[in-house]
């Protein structure tokens, strides 16, 4: 309970930092229009007055944070509707993409790690190492571009981005067809990493007494590692999962642009360019909240996975 209560001051501090950082560069939302030959300086100044952007920064912060406390995130300067609606329209799409990428990373990572650890073949271990290096070293904007080029432009196996076929009612298979490529690209970064965690963890416990005992009772290496070794690997894996969330969100931003995925990352990118402060701050706060909550959940899951860990 104490840990949950500790979230509030942490989020308040984060809001202050985010507000400061977002307002650090020169210019603002009205100035985006000022480069247009049709815009007049007087009209731009009036926009700043109407939006309260001519007020001192601390006044602007106080106004924003006090409204935030009653659920009002402000109005988007670009879309002219509540920033909360703008962000919430996109949030489920990002959750779908990052969730699928996590699943890809976990299933493939754990599976390959297990395979590399259990296998006695040097070729399999070598192949696993190559996969690991490739996955970690290839940036998603590049792998995404290659996937689109090969599988969409040439082979026509996957669509050219987007979340669904335009003009068709949304259905599960169509959604899956559109989701597969971006999820694989985003998840591939983690496949390598988690495979190496699992492999290294299993290799460590493979020579432990309890695994040797299990093997002497007649279990195969795979059975012994799965039943007795794997739970020991879970703890560091959960830690890594919690720590990886910010990287997953920033990776989603790139993947969403490459695959025209209408998620929060792409929204954030566009809103930053347009200096749409209410949307930028809303999206960043949601991301910050997600990180804080996942870290809290990670701590709580420790207690379940390892009975020695207890929180007051």
């Amino acid at each position: 309970m104490r840990r949950v209560a500790g979230l509030l001051p942490r989020l308040l501090l984060i809001s202050l930092l985010l507000f400061g950082v977002v307002h650090l560069p020169r210019g603002g939302p009205a100035d985006v229009y000022a480069a247009d030959p049709a815009a007049t300086p007087a009209a731009i100044e009036r926009m700043k007055e109407l939006w309260g952007l001519d007020q001192p920064l601390h006044v602007q912060y106080w106004r924003w944070v006090s409204r935030l406390s009653v659920g009002d995130w402000g109005t988007s300067y670009v879309e002219r509707r509540p920033a909360m609606h703008v962000v919430m329209d996109r949030l489920p799409n990002t959750l779908r993409l990052t969730g699928a990428a996590l699943l890809v990373g976990l299933v493939a990572g754990v599976g390959l790690g297990l395979l590399a650890s259990v296998s006695r073949s040097a070729a399999v271990k070598h192949l696993a190492r190559v996969v690991a290096v490739l996955g970690m070293s290839v940036p998603t904007f590049w792998s995404g571009a290659i996937v689109l080029l090969v599988f969409s432009s040439y082979l026509r196996w996957i669509p050219a981005g987007g979340m669904g076929t335009i003009g068709r009612p949304a259905d599960f298979l169509d959604g899956l067809w559109h989701l597969a490529a971006p999820a694989l690209v985003l998840g591939s970064v983690y496949v390598a990493q988690w495979m190496r965690y699992v492999q290294a963890g299993l290799d460590d416990v493979a020579s432990e007494d309890f695994v040797r005992t299990a093997r002497s009772k007649g279990l195969t290496r795979l059975q012994a590692l799965l039943k007795h070794g794997f739970p020991n690997v879970m703890l560091p894996l959960v830690t890594v999962l919690g720590l990886e969330l910010p990287r997953l969100l920033s990776g989603a931003m790139v993947t969403e642009v490459v695959f025209s995925w209408p998620g929060i990352g792409r929204l954030l990118h566009g809103s930053l360019v347009a200096r749409d402060y209410p949307v930028v701050l809303g999206a960043l706060l949601v991301a910050a909240l997600a990180v804080v909550v996942v870290n809290l959940l990670t701590d709580l899951v420790y207690g379940v996975l390892d009975p020695r860990v207890r929180y007051a």
Partner: protein, 515 residues
């Protein structure tokens, strides 16, 4: 055919049908690299927002692909000859087309035009441009189809402003008394145009359906889909799969790809914009006209245009691009001449301490900072070329990248030496580069006096003469280096008929398009 193979064939056909996007022949798909923020006209200056608004709304006049005014909601273009424009240039009498209705069936009347003027000039609304409309003294509506626009002074820019992309007429009966700041109308517009918005999936697409009783006759296409695809890789994939009829605002770097793509053609969209280098005329080094001329002489702009701007454009020393009726073809020019550049710099006191070194004067090196908007590869390439050319004549250049929102206030504050970007003139020049922003801090009384005379001269030929005189003075003074007119690139399917982009919008005549 046995039962198994029949089954397989049916299955394959079903799968093909299932996976095929529903891009029916009667649907025109247009790719936008960026999503419009709002479809309520006058609140968004993004040119792509205007393109989308063109589907739903109408202007009083449009400018066609030949730069000629066409009556649109107006029944005719007001001129001195037809009496629509008063002799003193202060009053425009506009007769509206009859039988035009809003999508909800209500008639479009002169009251809607007057309401639109009140919205644009409402000081309590965050409207980014009120140019020209704010100079109107009053709008009279003697009957439902006559609008009388009164200016206190002669005004020569109204037709340009009324045909400007974005100058759409709003429905008073739906918007009067509502809070336009947060109106649902931003995303659920009701207009008088050839299409109505039926679905907007944020970040994905906007789907428009034909309005059967459109005053210009029902559109040829049943629907238009604007698909939002920001990444160039995905844009390429969409094009290669034949899923788009038109792609707007392609990067110039995509030109070779489009030229090699079967079934598509690269289209150069006309603009009145110049790529240019703003020189801060109050900077100690750049206040000397010899230095400014030398910096222009040092650049091989032909080469830049050919290799970095896709060969789509030819450099000009005039402030108004050659595509514009007010362009001055015969102004002092500064062709690529490094020797002349070196001579002018030496004459201005900037000498090389040693061969190949950066020039100095009183121990101060001649190093010029160039501000650029970060994130666009083609801009960076041009600036690097400028940097290399200047370096050849002993002028150093340091590039400072800033974001788009920081660019205007930085230049407005004079906190710069030079900056690279583009600026566009209007159909009826408002000279905002000089009379409005004047980021270059140009100070030539004689030149500004010409613009003042221009703004009250009703006869177009006389205005043109004044515009040419002004551009000649500017070319002599070189307060800004004009690199080349800015080409805009689009890719169109060869099957698409009727697409004829103008300097204001590409979708202005979308109701006539077919494929």
């Amino acid at each position: 055919m046995n039962r198994n193979s029949r089954f397989s064939t049916t299955l394959l056909a079903a799968a093909a049908l299932w996976f095929a996007p529903l891009a029916a022949a009667q649907t025109i798909t247009v790719l936008f690299p960026q999503e419009p923020g709002s479809l309520l006209p006058h609140f968004d200056l993004l040119s792509l927002a205007h393109e989308a608004q063109d589907l739903v709304f109408d202007r009083l006049f449009v400018v066609d692909e030949n730069g000629q005014y066409l009556p649109w909601l107006a029944a005719e273009v007001p001129t001195l000859a037809n009496g629509g424009l008063s002799e003193d240039g202060r009053t425009y009498t506009i007769r509206l087309r009859e039988g035009v209705t809003w999508h909800d069936g209500e008639p479009l009347t002169s009251a809607d035009v007057a309401f639109t003027w009140r919205v644009i000039t409402d000081p309590d609304l965050p409207i980014p441009t009120r140019t020209v409309w704010q100079d109107i003294e009053s709008v009279d509506t003697p009957d439902a189809h006559t609008v009388v626009i009164n200016f206190p002074e002669p005004n020569v820019t109204f037709l340009g402003a009324a045909s400007f992309a974005g100058a759409y007429i709003l429905p008073e009966h739906l918007l009067a008394g509502t809070d336009l700041n947060t109106s649902p109308f931003h995303r659920q517009p009701v207009g008088s145009g050839p299409f109505r918005l039926v679905e907007w999936q944020s970040g994905s697409f906007l789907h428009f359906e034909r309005v059967d009783d459109y005053w210009g006759g029902p559109a040829q296409a049943e629907s238009v889909v604007i698909r939002i695809v920001p990444g160039s890789e995905a844009q390429r994939a969409v094009l290669e799969r034949g899923e788009a009829d038109l792609v707007l605002q392609l990067a110039i770097t995509e030109l070779p790809f489009i030229e090699a793509l079967p079934g598509h053609e690269a289209v150069q969209v006309p603009t009145f914009a110049n790529w240019q280098v703003w020189l801060n005329n109050e900077d100690p080094a750049l206040s000397d006209v010899r230095v400014r001329r030398a910096l222009t002489h040092a650049l091989d702009r032909e080469l830049i245009a050919e290799s970095l701007l896709g060969g789509l454009t030819t450099p000009s020393d005039a402030a108004v691009p050659p595509s514009h009726w007010a362009h001055a073809a015969d102004v002092p020019s500064y062709p690529y001449d490094p020797e002349e550049a070196e001579r002018l710099l030496a004459e201005a006191g900037w000498t090389r301490p040693s061969p190949g070194a950066i020039r100095t004067r009183d121990g101060e090196p001649l190093v010029i900072e160039v501000i650029n908007i970060a994130g666009q590869a083609d801009r960076v390439q041009v600036i690097q070329a400028i940097q290399a050319f200047w370096r050849d004549v002993g002028v150093g250049a340091e590039i400072r990248n800033i974001d788009a929102a920081s660019f205007p206030p930085t230049l407005a504050a004079g906190d710069f030496q030079s900056a690279y970007g583009f600026f566009s003139e209007q159909q009826e020049p408002t000279w905002n580069l000089w009379l409005g922003t004047n980021w270059q801090r140009y100070a030539n009384e004689a030149a500004f006096a010409l613009l003042e005379r221009y703004s009250v001269t009703v006869d177009q030929q006389e205005r043109r003469a004044l515009a040419i005189e002004f551009q000649t003075l500017v070319a002599e003074d070189q307060p800004v280096i004009f690199i080349a007119p800015r080409p805009l690139l689009a890719a169109a399917s060869t099957a698409l008929q009727g697409y004829s982009p103008t300097t204001t919008t590409s979708l202005w005549n979308v109701h006539t398009w077919q494929k």
